[in-house]
Amino acid sequence: MARLTLDNICKQFDGQTVIDHLSMNIEPGAFVALLGPSGCGKSTILRMLAGFEPVSAGEIRHGERLLSSKKQHTPTEERNFGMVFQSYALWPHMTVADNVGYPLRIQKIIGEEKTRRIKDALAVVELEEYADRLPAQLSGGQRQRVALARSLVTEPDVVLFDEPLANLDRHLRATMEETFRAFHKRTKATIVYVTHDQAEAMSLADHIAVLNKGELVQWGTPQDLYATPKNTWLANFIGRGSVLNLVATEPQQYIRGHQLQELLRQSLLKGQSEQTPLSQKTTSPVLVRPQDIHFINNPLEEGFSVKVRNCIFRGERYDIELILADGQRLQAYSDVPMDQDSQHTIHLEQAWSLETDA
């Protein structure tokens, strides 16, 4: 087991920079998600880790071993990594057992040893009875489990996942997530998992690297990313909530209580008197999560007046869209339905101040 290091990686395609000076340390046994919208470069990073793409600059190391640099490139077939593809990449002319056993065949592992390891791998994904089937006879979820078995049969140190759930329906995803979690617990392999689905990344990974336009926006645990996102883009990308523009404040801090009420009051006054939205220079964005907004029923309590713009039933609660006096919008939750255009008073518990996007 060794640490996987990405050191100042750059990647250009036809002169266009796709990855720009990216550094990351992935500890042995970690479950890391690379999260970002499509085109952010996350798949390119995975393909560079697998060795399909050479790096344009920088180094990739696995422990002491140099995998990729500008001058040296260890071919994929010598890296002993496993990978699970979005398209499953099962060979349609081989049975399930042959698919899973192919890496063993290449390593010239034969006979009883081979049979035993194929059986063990299929047991992990609970597909022992399907050994003689062809991939075409399996369902999507079963195919992905065969691919999973194939990636673990040689007990690789690192297993790469390239959007493995993108082709599956919603119900199967939940089951497969459970399978992946069990897989990680059992093999203790380092996992690098590419996805564009933030909920999937949050529920599976112990660390998440959020990428945008080839750059690392933030690196942290799922809890960190949710509670203390770095900038407006990330705040909009992860979890639900609203970004408000308040009178300029220090970024990266929680604003609570009296301080928050005061800031909000100033902003609202200013916004109304100027008749135009506050310009970016004099304001800074803050993130307000819906669960931090409370409706006040007691007329004596102090609060802010809002109008209901929209009310959508979500089952366990109602999603409410509110408009502040200066026209800015807020997301809130409510246990009871609210009429459109009705007036209410709210109290803000806390807000997280953000950096403006570069």
Binding site: G51, P75, T76, E78
Partner: protein, 565 residues
């Protein structure tokens, strides 16, 4: 260390393969260029200026343009008519219609010409059988520029049909449904939506038909030479007879003219085809199908009539001609004879020889090309996009330029004994074999490349992660998954080369004749009954090979087999 050795093996392999491409694809064209331009000076005596000043050249060029132009018109009318009806309506037995309409393209041109000659001449066995033959002594209407154009048109109509059909079956049904919701009538839909979307495809098909007619040798040779109506390819053929010092350079000059015309046409066609590719949005799962309702039966009868005229009747007359004792006699219970077939199979030494020559050439060419194309396609797929398309178009050149031009290039290359080993290939089967390799490399490579490019790249990447080296991946993963295309490529080469006439017409020598040459020679020598009998066998062979390919079709990527969707 083993790994390094493997990779260097692969490097050696690619070096050898690219050398082979250079030899097969580039060398003939370069040889032709040097021959045409090496003596180039603008003095009156240089061969090229001689060619350009010769009245015969300009007359042949004019004839080429007239016959090919008229042929293109016929091809567009026939091809697009069939394409619209077969692709856009609920006509029954669609696959059969497509197969029958594509057949004329696969039948060798000299056989087509022969069957039409048999049909219309005063000695026509078919017309004589029904007592309808024109008076003896009257000329056969097929021996005319218009006769040539008609057959060229029929032979190249499938090209227009294909270009158009590919576009038509990709038009999504929902576009038509949207137009219907806008209350457009069938006619308006056809005029406002379907025609604009496939106009460029039609023009591209027309360009292809023109180019292929321009390079055709078999039809103008059978129909034009007897009345001394020469087009460019037949002019070259006749010039070859007067083998002299300057003749080769002059012929090289003539060949250059055709090659340039054809290449210009191909470029135009490619440009148009690219322009015609509108990004079509929508479900392509269901293509357009107009309900003909009551008009269906009449439409089918009209199509059947046309097919009868262009395919069935000529073939029928060919078959009848092969069963009569001598040309000019009607076929009935008394005259029916299998003499021609018996003679063909037993007595005529040249027939058996031509048959075995052609089978040997076709087998050798298809097997060699299959062996070459597998690693070649695999290596090409691993090249950067731009380099790959450059090499692919290089491979295309010998196939695109007319066979007669390629044959001239090979004569120029091998007229003298090979250096160092002092062996002369001229006048042997080997020179024909080499010319076939050069000509049909792209025929074999295309299906393989197409299947490989449709292979999800992750399949091979998964094997790479499993530790498989390039050659292991080729044999474990890529070959099993592209095997049908691999065999289709070989079968196509076999199908085309067993009937080949143009290249072998110039390269054959006594004892080395091919089937195509044999039919041509027998007809020229007046033995059309025997020529017909051989042609019947050839048509049977072609149809059964096409049927065999159709059996492979469900396991092939779309578009590999021309007469299949």
């Amino acid at each position: 260390m083993i790994i390094r050795a493997m990779d260097s093996q692969l490097r050696w392999l690619s070096f050898l393969l690219f050398l082979l491409i250079a030899l097969l694809s580039l060398l003939p064209s370069l040889r032709l260029l040097t021959e045409a331009f090496v003596n180039m000076s603008f003095t009156t005596s240089s061969p090229l200026s001689e060619v350009l000043r010769s009245e015969r050249t300009w007359r042949a060029l004019q004839h080429s343009f007239y016959t090919s132009g008229l042929a293109t018109l016929i091809a567009v009318v026939l091809g697009s008519g069939f394409a619209f009806v077969v692709s856009l309506t609920n006509i029954r037995r669609r696959a059969l219609w497509v197969f029958c309409f594509m057949l004329p393209m696969m039948i060798p041109p000299q056989v087509t010409a022969l069957s039409w000659l048999q049909l219309f001449g005063p000695a026509s066995p078919l017309l004589n059988t029904f007592g309808l033959a024109p008076a003896l002594g009257s000329s056969n209407p097929m021996y005319s520029p218009e006769g040539i154009a008609l057959l060229l048109g029929i032979q190249s109509a499938p090209l227009v049909f294909l270009a158009l059909r590919t576009q038509l079956i990709n038009l999504p049904q929902d576009m038509i449904e949207a137009a219907r919701m806008a209350r457009a009538s069938h006619l308006r839909i056809w005029i406002d939506i379907i025609v604009p979307l496939c106009r460029s495809a039609m023009v591209a098909g027309a360009a292809l038909a023109f180019v292929s007619s321009l390079g055709n040798f078999g039809i103008p040779a059978m129909l034009g030479i007897p009345i001394n109506y020469l087009v460019l390819p037949t002019l070259i053929y006749q010039q070859m007879a007067g083998f002299g010092d300057d003749v080769l350079s002059e012929i090289a000059g003539l060949s250059m003219i055709i090659a340039l015309l054809v290449l210009a046409g191909m470029l135009l066609q490619q440009w148009l085809q690219q322009r015609s590719q509108y990004a079509l949005i929508g479900h392509t799962t269901q293509s357009i199908s107009f309900n003909l309702k009551k008009a269906r039966a009449p439409v089918e009868i009209v199509l059947g009539g046309i097919l009868c005229f262009i395919l069935v009747i000529p073939l029928l007359s060919l078959i009848i001609s092969s069963f009569v004792p001598a040309l000019g006699m009607p076929l009935n219970g008394e005259t029916f004879t299998l003499n021609a077939y018996i003679e063909m199979l037993s007595k005529q030494g040249s027939t058996a020889r031509a048959f075995s020559n052609s089978v040997f050439l076709a087998l050798a060419a298809s097997l060699t090309l299959m062996l070459v194309c597998l690693p070649l396609g695999y290596l090409l797929m691993r090249l950067p996009m731009r380099l790959r398309s450059v090499i692919a178009s290089l491979i295309e050149v010998p196939y695109a330029i007319p066979g007669i031009v390629l044959a001239i290039a090979f004569i120029l290359l091998f007229a003298r004994p090979l250096p160092f080993i002092e062996v002369s290939l001229y006048g042997t089967l080997t020179i024909i074999f080499l010319a076939y390799l050069s000509c049909f490399l792209s025929v074999c490579l295309k299906p393989i490349m197409s299947a490989m490019s449709q292979l999800d790249s992750s399949l091979e990447e998964a094997a790479q992660l499993a530790g498989a080296k390039p050659l292991q991946r080729l044999f474990h993963i890529v070959l099993p998954l592209t095997a049908p295309a691999f065999f289709a490529g070989g079968l196509l080469v076999f199908l085309i080369s067993i009937n080949e006439l143009t290249v072998s017409a110039l390269l054959w020598s006594a004892g080395n004749e091919t089937l195509g040459v044999l039919i041509f020679n027998l007809d020229e020598g007046g033995d059309s009954v025997l020529a017909s009998a051989i042609s019947v066998l050839v048509v049977l062979l072609v149809a059964s090979l096409m049927a065999l390919l159709s059996l492979l079709a469900p396991r092939l990527p779309k578009g590999i087999i021309p007469w299949h969707d």
